[in-house]
């Protein structure tokens, strides 16, 4: 070959473009971030919902349960009775139907019981000791989180068994005792000493506990039923709802006759009515002074009660009891709705001279309850008729924390558990060990950040469609709502957007026209890095992330 032919022709390439730096074109760079989902933020225990739902979707069920258990030791319980505020905030609700988060939670909880999964063993021992007074959901949740951190925890419970209203309030047809027992037992396996039948009532007892323990958590609930002034001395005729449910739940329910009136509109009223029906009452009627709209109990329960033949009379307020020829009658005044009151609900106002009366064999008051102030020290304060605590669940007495119904008028199982968790977190911090996962005040992922292309529209797994038939249900205290199958659970999990939670779907990696996203295999699974040298900042990865787990951040150069 000639000299010229041997000279490397200048029109052939010799180098590769990956030696070049297109990163200099950029004015913004994608950044992987933790961004809470609205469901997570709405959950009182800050359940990491998108994370464990992702686990279900991927069929990693044990891992999913473990992730769930980080914040919630009782998924079988909350999966049945939680008021599920998470679902109200679910982004998918803006698309077709919200995710049945609670059903999924129950699915995982039940699965864990069925398979006998235990919590990870506590592998640290810390010297601090905490006494918990009251073994309801608030106390148990606090115990759980403290114990997981290695603290010694002892529970003092006035009743024979733990559980609080989970056991003595909520009837078995909504929360089977077996489920309750097994979740509590599993918790206790972590090594928690329990003193049942021990009520802490006196200043002396509190004194002792304060001396013996590094901190206290008081979660004695709201035990004192409210009464109506006009019926103050009708105790022989009128029974107390909470007391009735306690007896029902302890297998000592009294007979109520054929016609039963229940006064009130909350959980207690409905559960009382439904229990009475199951125990043989022919005609059970709930009397409520507002309308169905304002009833504080969960909608599904009102629905189920209706299905079971419970009657409702709205806009009626009891005034007196009349007795005629041995027949008892409750006379009520008719009401109408007025302006909103401080609770944000319309105030019921009596309609002059308009009355109704109902015959009754038994009458039960279910009007809610008030707290009994713990007799500890003398600095405790009451606010809005509950014990006052600060944002960290700490009372005005040092190292004395409190939570649950005792400190809040928002009375739900998960709220109580959230308070227990928060208190545990604060105590751990106090003891210098804070690792309990807290909530964040970050902005949540909005629906607009979801790329819905990746989520074909399809309806939710509706819980109502798995109930026992009514005729069977009113015969006994068998659980009414059934759970869902694995297939259904995975189907429902697949619907979840996993807002803000990187599911390692690889979309960002796949959609980069500049190959500027590296997929790495990290210790806890794959993760991604943006290659600074190449990324041009187009934002396509951000746009194609189905769930808002990356954002584009302006760069100043």
């Amino acid at each position: 070959m000639s000299k010229a032919a041997n000279m490397l022709s200048t029109a052939w390439t010799t180098l590769r473009s990956d030696a070049l730096n297109t990163g200099t074109w950029r004015s913004a760079i994608p950044t992987y971030r933790y961004c809470p989902s609205p469901c997570h933020q709405a959950c009182p225990v800050n359940n990491d919902i998108p994370a464990w739902i992702d686990g279900i979707e991927k069929g990693e069920l044990h891992g999913a349960w473990l992730k769930l258990a980080v914040n919630n030791p009782f998924p079988s319980i909350t999966g049945r009775v939680c008021h599920h505020p998470c679902e109200s905030y679910c982004n998918r609700g803006q698309y077709d139907e919200k995710i049945s988060i609670r059903m999924l939670e129950r699915y995982l909880g039940d699965l864990s019981l069925e398979r006998g999964w235990s919590f990870p063993a506590v592998d640290v021992a810390k010297k601090e000791r905490v006494a918990i007074i009251g073994g309801g959901p608030a106390g148990l949740s606090a115990a759980y989180h403290l114990r997981l951190e290695g603290y010694t925890v002892e529970i003092y419970e006035a009743r024979q068994k733990l559980g609080g209203l989970l056991r003595y309030g909520i009837p078995a047809y909504r929360l089977p005792k077996e489920v309750l027992d097994r979740e509590i037992d599993r918790l206790l396996e972590l090594g928690i000493e329990v003193h049942t039948d021990v009520a802490i009532n006196t200043p002396g007892e509190y004194d002792r506990l304060q001396k013996e323990y590094d901190a206290l958590f008081i979660s004695t609930g709201a035990q004192r039923s409210r009464k109506l002034a006009q019926f103050e001395d009708s105790s022989g005729i009128i029974q107390d709802g909470l007391d009735y449910l306690y007896k029902v739940n302890s297998g000592q329910a009294p007979g109520l006759g054929q016609k039963v009136l229940v006064i009130g509109g909350g959980n207690t009223a409905i559960d009382t009515a439904r229990s009475a029906k199951r125990l043989g009452a022919d005609q059970v009627m709930i009397i409520y002074r507002r309308t169905e709209e304002e009833m504080p109990s969960q909608k599904s329960e009102i629905l189920e009660a209706g299905e079971e033949g419970i009657l409702f009379t709205f806009l009626a307020s009891p005034v007196r009891i009349e007795k005629e020829n041995g027949v008892q009658k409750l006379v009520c005044q008719k009401m109408q709705l007025g302006e909103n009151d401080s609770s944000g609900r319309p105030r019921p106002e009596p309609i002059k001279d308009a009355y109704l009366s109902f015959e009754a064999d038994s009458m039960i008051m279910a009007l809610g309850s008030d707290i009994v102030m713990p007799k500890i020290g003398n600095g405790l304060e009451i606010q809005d008729s509950v014990l006052k605590v600060d944002g960290k669940q700490e009372t005005s007495i040092k190292n004395v924390f409190a939570g649950g119904d005792l400190t809040s008028n928002i009375r739900f199982v998960s709220t109580a558990m959230g308070a227990g968790k928060k208190a545990a977190q604060q105590m751990a911090q106090l003891f210098g060990g804070n690792t309990v996962q807290g909530s964040s005040d970050l902005e949540t992922v909005s629906f607009e950040e979801i790329n819905t292309f990746y989520f074909p529209r399809n309806p939710a797994v509706v819980s109502g469609s798995f109930q026992l038939v009514v005729s069977d249900r009113i015969k006994n205290f068998e659980e009414v709502q059934l759970g869902i199958s694995e297939e259904q659970a995975i189907g429902e999990a697949t619907r979840c957007f996993n807002c803000g939670f990187c599911t390692v779907c690889d979309n960002c990696y796949y959609f980069c026209p500049d190959m500027a996203i590296a997929r790495n295999s990290g210790e806890d699974g794959p993760n991604y890095t943006v290659l600074d040298q190449y990324c041009k900042g187009c934002g396509l990865c951000v746009r194609e992330c189905p769930r808002g787990a990356i954002v584009l951040k302006e760069e100043s150069k």
Partner: protein
């Protein structure tokens, strides 16, 4: 040792086809046009007879044919094609592309007038209009030279990595039957090594061709092209010499006929040089000191050799069967430029002879020579029929 091979009666087209067949190209993209068509036909015959194993591509146009020539050549195989006139014009863009690609394609072009108006006659303007495209251009005179030059063109082109055109005139060569010595395949094998470029399009090499370059690189690229063209003189000369050694037939880059002491030189390309030889003989017999210089390699233009030969002569009479409107005969122009500044330069006379395929007889040539002897040379080419 000289090997005679076979002797056959062949047209220029078929002789070229024999040359191509003996070179055993691997890919032949080709599109028919009068008067080149018999080349394509002969090659497909060879293929049928098993004398040739090539990939034939018969695309929809010469443009696509040349595109396939370039890419096939860059993929590392020997490529041959042939065209004429309109077809060559249609290829124009890609002729540049081919040389820029340093693709040693060999193409036969049968010189033919181009439209408008339509005609099918011998005229070299079609190929001369491609003189700036970076192709080697050989102008040959008869079927034997066509066959020999196709093989020499492959050897030269593949050595310097430039494409080469072998050009002859429509009908006068393409369809003229003559006795042609056809070398044996062994002879050709010993002469023409297989084409094995170092760089080519191949996944195992992984280098790309033709990406955008900056001004400086472009300029450099053009300079190496120049360098390659410069090397052609030696390489082509060697190729010719070697061929002569093998077959007894050599032509030189320019062919001198009775030039030794000639004061007057006729200069031409293609068949007119053949005719001119008899004119020279006649005029010599009449006592005129005259010879013929046939330019065989027109690109690169053998400037140094021409200056050497023509320095000290009285007169050069250039006969152009081509026409560049506005500046006359192309060989005439080129020669003037080539001899510029030469101390003992001859006077140069340019005649447009045979444009459009008009027959140029020995008498005609004699007449033009005589005209030059009595007249003043002019810068402009003169229509001499």
């Amino acid at each position: 040792m000289i090997s005679k091979g076979d002797t056959m009666l062949l047209t220029g087209n078929h002789a070229a086809a024999y040359g191509a067949m003996l070179a055993q190209p691997k890919v032949i993209p080709i599109y028919p046009i009068t008067p080149q068509t018999p080349i394509a036909e002969k090659l497909t015959e060879f293929q049928l007879e098993g004398l040739l194993q090539a990939e034939f591509i018969t695309p929809e146009s010469e443009h696509s044919a040349m595109a396939a020539c370039i890419s096939a050549s860059l993929t590392g195989v020997r490529v041959f094609t042939a065209t004429s006139s309109q077809g060559l014009m249609l290829m124009h863009e890609l002729l540049h592309f081919a040389s820029g690609s340093r693709a040693p394609i060999v193409m036969v072009n049968a010189n033919r007038t181009f439209a408008a108006p339509w005609g099918f006659w011998a005229d070299q303007t079609d190929s001369l209009a491609q003189r700036d495209t970076g192709w080697l251009q050989y102008y040959v005179e008869n079927p034997q030279e066509a066959l020999d030059t196709v093989l020499q063109a492959f050897k030269t082109a593949e050595t310097v990595l430039l494409p080469a055109m072998v050009v002859f005139e429509a009908f006068y060569v393409s369809h003229a039957l003559e006795v042609v010595g056809v070398p044996t395949p062994e002879t050709v094998k010993s002469y023409l090594p297989p084409y094995e470029p170092k760089v080519m399009l191949d996944p195992e090499i992984g280098r790309s061709f033709g990406n955008v370059v900056d001004q400086k690189t472009y300029c450099q690229h053009r300079q190496t092209l120049d360098l390659a063209m410069e090397e052609v003189f030696d390489v082509a000369k060697n190729a010719d010499d070697q061929w002569k050694g093998l077959t007894g037939r050599g032509y030189g880059l320019v062919e001198k006929y009775r030039c030794e002491d000639a004061e007057n030189i006729i200069m031409a390309m293609g068949t007119i040089s053949g005719t001119a030889k008899s004119a020279v003989d006649k005029m010599r017999a009449e006592g005129l000191s005259i010879g013929l210089l046939k330019v065989r390699l027109f690109r690169p233009f053998p400037v140094q050799e021409l200056r050497g030969i023509l320095g000290g002569r009285d007169r050069v009479i250039v006969l152009d069967r081509n026409f560049s409107p506005g500046n006359g005969g192309i060989l005439h122009q080129e020669l003037k430029a080539a001899l510029y500044g030469l101390k003992s330069a001859p006077e140069i006379f340019g005649y447009l002879a045979g444009v459009g395929g008009v027959n140029v007889t020995p008498e005609k040539i004699e007449g033009l020579v005589k005209q030059s002897l009595s007249g003043q040379s002019s810068a402009k080419s003169i229509w001499g029929w």
